[in-house]
Symmetry: C2
Subunit: 452 residues, 2 copies
């Protein structure tokens, strides 16, 4: 039994603080801008839909923020999550590399999303809020917020993108099991929905508008977002902090840390604590690789500019790599990675040369997922399959021992239709449309400072 | 952080031996009988479809059997599994009881079934077998065997009951992801299937016949069974052994241990190690409660008699509580509990008064599952929801501190259609048909010794 497969921590090892990387960012800060005034967006831009506690976390200059005791109590339901050494995969690859993965699929909702859903629900409950609204695409975020709300006696109202609502009925069932109300978006509940009633599939943009509209109109309701924003990335840093302890248990140190990137919260959660250590060690530390779908190559092909975070244009402008806020990514199964932009903090780090970015096609990603499942057992969600692909490539390139750590941010129990298509040889492999992105980039908001 | 929620063990705590309760059974042994000769069935009855190693385990008189090192290595992918204290559920129930649950849903296939799939695949691989065949209903067993075969480079051929194949396509996808070949049963692959080609939904009985037929005809193929037999129950005893250590960590001792019963392997796995301790302590120890669906009340309403283990009548006769081997249980969602008989070892213990048995209706079971999910997070499979119902009842009856331990043997990620129906108020609540069982009992095999 000498060859340890998984590294477990007891509940006492749940981090006591979140790591706030905002003060570590190199260069001048690039705050979000009010899209009307082009002035930095402040708390008044956000109080209609977020509680003060989360707004404070969004703009905090403190290097660490304490995790409330009540949140840590809930984290105990699944945290600390296990770190695995992929010994069977290593043998199959016949590689000298050591491959480790941090598995977030053990949470009740099956991904890393509850790490932020819980503190968001808690902060809103503390502020006297009665209901949270949100949008969801594939359903990972909506189900995580439904779970979190059930624990703090909050109502939860989810606007689910119409096409997902039709294709993934069991993610909807999951939300309802935890007590949430789920609307197919566009819905009859909101002006935004009724104005788009003829839209056949709906979109994340419409669903966001609906959720924000409901929250903004009701003083007892707030809105919750599952990625992109600073406070969301902050909450996810429990992941990386635990891996630092677990890699010490394994007596190994990573040469490269890999995560998939959609909005950026999974990637940030895993890497930011490692990145702070590297910055404090004058650059001695692992490389960081952000992996995205070739069909939606925000980091590898996007433009660094101020753009809206949503499709409709309701949010403040954010400094980020973008394909244009009305770029509609092809329907790859990694729904969580279909985002035109990326978290401003992740983008600033890439711009500063502190991260690498890489893109893979859908079919090569599923080939890696299948190889992983047949050796390690866990069937990965399509999103972290991108990280698996990168980890396998790093291992194949390793002429000598190279220590690879990647984030396995969720299981694929609700994504098996995609595996079906892959096994049948009918999985689409959509290409990125530079022309579509160019058209969307032509509609970037005017008057914002250039970041070129 | 004083209130521990989950009790984790490191890999070193994976048991080194399985607990064989066969020598502990009270009274005269009741061996399986060859249905032709009515003489005890011996190894020659079994060698066409099982390897000698497993046949040896099936009849062993040794109190413990060592777990092969290679099996323990695979167990590390998910074992030891966590023991949780259900603190949120306790508060919601306002009970002085302490409620603990052992969660087997962390395995790659999502239930306790891999605990036996892995040693079965290993023993067959060691014996030079190239392929394993099996049947599956809801898919938990088939997916577990597919997973295990992928690790030992065995082919896996699964005959999946037609109605499940049509209704649960994602369980099929899961098996294929692990490399198994899945046939809708009745299939064109076998004589048994072709003879039943007109059967619209198929049945477990037909699927067993198909799997056994393929295995018996090919010397390089064997058959694998997921419950009922002694060696299957044996493999599951890792569950109970771990809970003994974990309850010591919790500084609590159970007053009652509860598990759901279909074929009996989950229940046996949890309870047999505790039961041995109780027998060795002259009866000082917890009560044991076996819970089954009221629609298929084998233990609570069945007759203790020699009967076939399968519907078609291919197996040796087994001494068990039975509703008659051709009794077809109503289509409750707890597919894993729809079995006309029960493991002979579990039945012998019930007959001897060492266990209690209890049955619940489908709707009251789902009410308990929903209450559990909304407080503890995990969405349970319909089978262990029966154990949850019993645990909640035990807690409500507890006037003073009562320590309750139950087995949460799997998650419900592939059962959300049933939750949908429950939430919509359209879940059927089928009753047991005594008349159907009486008719089936009239067809009990003639000439076997009476057990009355």
């Amino acid at each position: 039994m000498a060859d340890t497969t998984k590294f477990l921590l007891s509940e006492e090892a749940i981090p006591t603080h979140w790591v706030n990387l905002l003060p570590d960012l190199p260069g001048d800060p690039l705050p979000p801008l009010n899209s009307q005034t082009m002035q930095p967006a402040g708390p008044p831009d956000l109080t209609p839909i977020f509680p003060l506690e989360l707004i404070g976390q969004e703009v905090s200059a403190e290097p660490e923020i304490e995790i409330p005791q009540q949140v840590r109590e809930v984290y105990k339901l699944w945290r600390p999550t296990p770190l695995f050494r992929a010994r069977r995969l290593e043998r199959a690859l016949d590689t000298p590399a050591h491959i480790y993965y941090k598995y977030e699929g053990v949470s009740p909702a099956g991904s890393h999303k509850p790490n932020t859903a819980v503190p968001q629900a808690f902060a809103n409950a503390q502020a006297g809020i009665r209901k949270l609204t949100t949008e969801t695409g594939a359903g990972q975020w909506g189900s995580s917020l439904a779970f979190a709300c059930s624990l703090f006696d909050l109502e939860c109202e989810v606007f689910m993108v119409g096409s997902s609502h039709d294709q993934k009925p069991y993610r909807r069932s999951m939300m309802q099991t935890w007590g949430a109300t789920v609307h197919r978006s566009p819905s009859e509940q909101t002006q935004s929905g009724r104005a788009n009633a003829s839209h056949p599939t709906g979109s994340l943009g419409i669903a966001i508008s609906e959720a924000v509209e409901v929250a903004a109109q009701d003083p007892e309701s707030n809105y919750a977002l599952g990625s992109v924003l600073n406070h969301v990335l902050l909450h996810q840093t429990v992941i990386g902090q635990e891996t630092i302890t677990q890699m010490e248990m394994a007596a190994d140190q990573p040469d490269v840390v890999i995560g998939c990137v959609g909005g950026g919260s999974n990637f940030a959660g895993l890497t930011f604590p490692w990145l702070r250590r590297k910055l404090q060690a004058d650059g001695a530390g692992p490389r960081f690789v952000a992996v995205e779908p070739a069909a939606c190559p925000t980091l590898t092909q996007g433009v660094y500019a101020y753009d809206f975070g949503d499709t409709v244009g309701l949010t403040p402008l954010m400094a980020m790599y973008t394909l244009g806020h009305d770029f509609v990514p092809p329907p790859v199964h990694a729904g969580g990675l279909r985002y035109h932009g990326d978290a401003p903090m992740v983008c600033a780090l890439l711009k500063a040369g502190l991260l690498e970015a890489r893109a893979y096609r859908q079919n090569e990603t599923f080939a890696a997922a299948l190889q992983f499942a047949r050796h390690e057992g866990i069937i990965p969600a399509p999103e972290p399959a991108h990280a698996i692909r990168a980890a396998i490539e790093e291992a194949k390139q390793a002429g000598e021992v190279r220590v690879i750590l990647f984030g396995l941010c969720g299981h694929g129990h609700f994504d098996l239709a995609a595996y079906d298509a892959y096994l049948a040889g009918t999985l689409q492999d959509p290409e990125f449309s530079q022309a579509d992105s160019d058209a969307a980039l032509a509609a970037l908001p005017q008057g914002a400072p250039s970041l070129a």
